[in-house]
Symmetry: C2
Subunit: 326 residues, 2 copies
């Protein structure tokens, strides 16, 4: 059976170069990569990473548990996380918890059985103990999972404040804020509280409408929004995540209410598809790629440093993106 | 170190039950699952699947290579594929080829090193030989990758025909069809050819506008569409995948052209987010979940049957979903 040395000789490069390409570390020119891959193929060389893992006790596998990768925000997070892991020579095991705690538990057990080096969790259906007792490096995306698990998120307080001050500037008097279910322990709750507080301090009527837990499927959006608008006929400003904001715009068009003259709308997230949808949504952009990169670098720190120092939580700045809905 | 028997005793169930839960095969009541997981935790039992894999020569890992999981259509495919794999006790390694052949090649080599049991490929940056010479079960999503690689796709000829006949029914005379790059060997090209042919046979002017290879990032859509509309000012019907259709609607609104009175639009794909965007897009729905399920069941057939019989390609029916843009 051929070994790495045979590949290096065949490709006319050093063993180090072959190993760097195999482990996807450091810059190697495309021509050199091509030479090495051609040599591997000619020799039909396929090092068994699982055997290697058993020896090195490192799988270079990372688990990512999300509620649902088909939700645009999560899809973008997954893409950027996979990208960052790839650049560091890691592979991504994708798990959709589908808001099901049995399933999330099975995934976590499966990931441990598969000796993943660490887990990035954006799901939240289990009790905190379930996460804290895991003997694995874990990073949480926008979730509080336990005191020793670092949380990566956008600066949601800043986001709530940016949106609130925009509605004030625009002279709105009756605002609806759609908020995630408050049972979920997430930094995003700071967005809601900051927003409500600023509204209150400025004597602006603010109704918070809370979604059920894990309210993800689009077909549920419109009935929910209809009820909210029926109950608040004099609304002149709406603050909600982008996908809800799109559905709000749709429901308002059925009611012949004009955006922004009758109702002003500010979204939250800044998902990419927003850039091709009319009207252009005014939205608070989360730095999705930076969140993904920080989650990966924090996890790799935990994996590669046996230190007991837990990296501190990371809050990344958001920005207001002016569109046609305000 | 505890073994599976200890777990069974602790949980008060049979070893078979524990192993079925561990391999996620067959129905087990949630209460039994809970008992078994609790027992595993109390005993801190984590069977090493990698050691098992080396012995069984089966990793239960499946690689999925997509161009970009953040594109809504691929995000939905990834979700349903992961779901179907999970139900069958397999795990998903997600790879975003990012339209980069070096990277796609590295992924394929990586997946082989990691002893995946099979690969589902929706990407297409490599030469056919690169796929056919792989010694692994492979299923192609909407791509022709080689004569022994089964292709799962929607019935695109039916899709092209449904759209064409709808434009005829609506009396359109000058239609633009946006089409994917024809260098890509995909069954979707049948959509384009069927559509063009029916238009021609009915003396309707049909301009095909072809995208560059792997034209995925939303920011490129509008400039491209602007050019197309400038070159065809008298267009009264447009046929394009949903995301392009959204961007077309946006561009038409800038031009104060009314949809559908001035220009009728039919989308293609039927992505979920379309249901919350106004106006409701008339579109040809691909059965995304069925495509994912068929890809998984075909791949599992290849993995579990040493037969040299290659499953035939699968074409799944599409349907016209009536919206407000026609």
């Amino acid at each position: 059976m051929p070994n790495i040395k045979d590949v290096a000789n065949r490709a006319g490069v050093s063993v180090t170069t072959v190993s760097r390409i195999m482990n996807n570390r450091g810059y190697i020119s495309e021509s050199t990569r091509k030479k090495v891959y051609d040599a591997m193929e000619e020799l039909n060389y396929h090092p068994n990473e699982m055997a290697k893992s058993l020896y090195t006790k490192k799988s270079n596998l990372i688990g990512l548990i999300l509620p649902d990768v088909s939700i645009p925000f999560y899809a973008e997070e997954a893409k950027h996380i996979e990208e960052a892991l790839y650049m560091n020579g890691y592979k991504l095991l994708l798990c959709n918890a589908s808001n099901n705690c049995i399933r999330e538990k099975e995934y976590i057990a499966m990931l441990q059985r598969n000796q993943v080096d660490g887990i990035i969790i954006g799901s939240h259906t289990l009790k905190l103990e379930e996460y804290t007792k895991l003997k694995l490096p874990i990073v949480a995306l926008d979730r509080f999972l336990g005191k020793d698990i670092p949380v990566i998120s956008a600066d949601h307080a800043q986001g709530g404040s940016l949106a609130a001050n925009e509605f004030i500037r625009l002279g709105c008097k009756n605002v609806i804020q759609f908020i995630g279910n408050t049972q979920v322990a997430t930094p995003a709750n700071e967005k809601n509280s900051t927003f409500s507080e600023i509204m209150k301090n400025n004597n602006i009527n603010c109704v918070n409408i809370e979604f059920p837990v894990n309210f993800f499927s689009f077909e549920n959006y419109l009935p929910f929004i209809k009820t909210a608008l029926d109950a608040n006929p004099n609304v002149d400003g709406i603050f909600a995540v982008d996908t809800i904001a799109f559905a709000v715009i749709k429901e308002l068009s059925f009611r012949n209410l004009k955006v922004p003259s009758d109702v002003k709308i500010i979204g939250y997230d800044g998902i990419a598809i927003g850039s091709i949808i009319a009207p252009i949504l005014t939205t608070i952009k989360q730095p999705i790629r930076d969140i993904a990169n920080s989650a990966v670098s924090t996890l790799l720190y935990l994996i590669n440093n046996d230190s007991t120092i837990v990296p501190s939580d990371i809050k990344l700045p958001v920005m207001l993106s002016q569109g046609q809905t305000t």
